[in-house]
Amino acid sequence: MNTLLNVENILFYAVICLYFLAMIGYFLFIGLKKERLAKAAAIVQTVGLLLHTAALICRGIGAGRLPMTNQYEFATSFAWGLCLVSLVFIAKFKFPVIGAFAAPVILLLIGYAAMQSKEVKDLMPSLRSSWLGFHVSTAIIAYGSFGVSFVLGIIFLLREKMKDKGFWDQHVPSREKLDLISYRSVCLGLLFLTFTIISGAIWAEQAWGSYWSWDPKETWSLVTWLIYAVYLHLRIRRGWKGKTAAVFAVVGFICVMFTYVGVNTFLPGIHSYA
């Protein structure tokens, strides 16, 4: 068990180095305008993701359970989710600039994970449920997708302010397409957030005897859901598509971060371990 956890520790720091290198690569791609650098950065990020996956597997086997039950484990899984979703969007839409904006967020998350206690603690009875894996893994994908929509919202808002029009026109989609890609990431996030909330409600009903208790974590998940529901409705209304929707994508992710970090820090409740 200790050997695996030591391996996980080494891999974790290797992953931080690789994500940092990937971020530098993406920055140089924008600074030097060399496409090869973007490809190299994406390869480094992919290797980082593979090692990150290995680190999570080592932790899971070493701890004898799913590595999703405390602040450290969720933070590193959240960074993994954002890394995965950003790479999928980079590949699907041939849009490496996403990496330049996502990499700092990934580093912030994994840096936050590094500051948390890595101690493997025993699980309290209520966490020993088959719902744990589904509930938390859907939250990781949801949060990762919202992270990408946040990045796209920022790129959307910066798009017109970029001086080198040639480079940005070549490597960044039009505002119309950016809006559509952002919409896709919000759709993925909202679908998975709904899975998270519903699976959490079913689990809460079994563990606590109530599927909804207005616990701060539950309440803020609902607030996040409502904000993204507003985003979707705003996009349908003429005149709100684009800039206003991009602002809501950014605000939505701030809610996501508050649900994850802020609620645990300022609003303790029955989710205090998460």
């Binding site: 009875p125 559509l180 709904t194 079994q206 563990a207 005897g209 599927y211 409502l226 409705h233 609620v263």
Partner: protein, 419 residues
């Protein structure tokens, strides 16, 4: 009047409600809920406390204005779905009608094989027809059902809110606690719980793995047992009987309290930590405060637990102390009062909520609606044959927009390169 109904079912009103509800939920999570006015005054100021209590911000999620907002949201969803239903039926029919193909957002010329293009885009095979101007076209429509996504999602949310609200209004919830061997009545109901066993499973390092209560739920008729169902409740695995669900909620320490006089047992029952009992024949109440394991070691080398207790005369505190297992509490003389047999009690939550399945159905329908809306987007492609034998292709996808146009262009390019 028509304008008011239209506004109540409008998307504009939905956005306003969603923003207000989000703000109210956020506020409710920041302001401590359920405190007394004095506690709010101590935490903030008299004025702020008055404001919190006056606006029912001390119980946001049950406040009348929160319920009104939720009712408005339900009304909005219902009206929206009712207003949109005929339009949706028309749109679904029109989507399959080549005479109503609409304005294309995709345009490509020189396509040699329209069916090959459809296959590349994983769209259904084309059907012959004629467009609105009577010209022959081949057309293919995909995911018409996706048009129903938002409608289904709204329906799901409605069912969810309805199930939750009805559940809150009608649910029965009781708490029962006791030690193995005891039978406890479920409040004033014609049911009782017999606690057969209570186990705490631990890992090798002593960490608790699971709490399990073996129970028999008794149905009573005229105070007599009419029927019985055995069940087991553990954390994450509630038991069930007679429509009730039984949850393993908590546990704690308990001990047997014995009252004797001249060797005759007058009173004997288990007392849970925190509980008080009037000692018969006296005005005194004895409350068990805590149990101290390994409190003292006897001459035989065995350790005995200690029992910390408080004594009240009516509501007035009288004294407090600790006695070892079997050691008499002198304040009750001539009665011999002592604690023994420290054990664990189980605390069970017993609940009956007939509307939980409705809320669950609502949640599943909401998910289904989101899946339809997001991942079964309606796409249309149609083509006209030109004199040179090639096809001019048109298409539209309300949600795919420019991305769908790009996909079609890429597919057309790939087919041209292949040939």
């Amino acid at each position: 009047m028509k304008k008011i109904w239209k506004f109540l079912g409008s998307m504009q009103f939905a956005i306003i409600l969603l923003v207000i509800l989000a703000a109210a939920c956020a506020g409710g999570s920041f302001i401590p809920q359920g405190l007394s006015p004095e506690q709010y005054a101590a935490q903030y100021s008299e004025r702020v406390a008055g404001l919190i209590v006056g606006l029912r911000l001390d119980d946001v999620f049950h406040a009348w204005w929160f319920l009104v907002l939720t009712a408005f949201l339900c009304g909005n969803l219902l009206l929206c779905n009712l207003i949109r239903l005929p339009q949706l039926i028309r749109r679904t029919r029109a989507a399959a009608d080549p005479g109503k193909l609409g304005t294309p957002s995709v345009h490509a010329e020189g396509v040699r094989d329209f069916n090959a293009l459809l296959a590349k885009l994983r769209m259904p095979k084309a059907v012959e027809g004629s467009d609105g101007e009577g010209r022959p076209v081949r057309y293919s429509v995909q995911n018409r059902i996706g048009l129903w996504g938002a409608w289904v999602c709204h329906l799901g949310i409605l069912l969810l809110i309805l199930g939750f609200t009805l559940g809150q209004m009608t649910k029965e919830e009781y708490t029962v606690y006791g030690v193995p061997g005891e039978t406890k009545r479920i409040a004033e109901q014609d049911y009782a719980v017999r606690i057969n066993d209570f186990r705490v499973d631990r890992q090798e390092n002593g960490f608790v793995q699971q709490y399990t209560s073996d129970l028999t739920i008794l149905e009573l008729s005229g105070g007599e047992q009419a029927a019985a169902i055995d069940t087991q409740a553990s954390v994450n695995h509630p038991g069930s009987a007679f429509g009730f669900k039984i949850y393993q909620n908590a546990m704690g320490d308990a001990a047997k309290l014995s009252v004797r006089k001249d060797g005759e047992t007058l009173q004997e029952s288990y007392l849970c930590v925190g509980d008080a009992l009037q000692i018969m024949g006296t005005p005194l109440y004895l409350q068990l405060q805590s149990i101290l394991p390994d409190y003292e070691t006897g001459a035989d080398g065995h350790t005995r637990s200690g029992f910390a207790y408080l004594i009240y005369v009516g509501d007035e505190f009288y004294t407090m102390s600790v006695r070892a297992e079997g050691e008499q509490i002198a304040d009750f003389k001539p009665y011999e009062v002592f604690f023994s047999e420290p054990c664990s009690y189980t605390l069970l939550q017993i609940k009956r909520d007939r509307f939980t399945p409705l809320a669950l159905v609502g949640g599943v329908v909401t998910l289904l609606g989101l899946l339809l809306a997001f991942y079964l987007q309606t796409r249309k492609l149609w083509a006209r044959r030109e004199e040179d034998g090639t096809w001019t292709v048109f298409g539209s996808s309300p949600k795919g927009g420019a991305l769908f146009a790009d996909r079609v262009k890429d597919a057309v390019e790939q087919l041209k390169n292949q040939s």
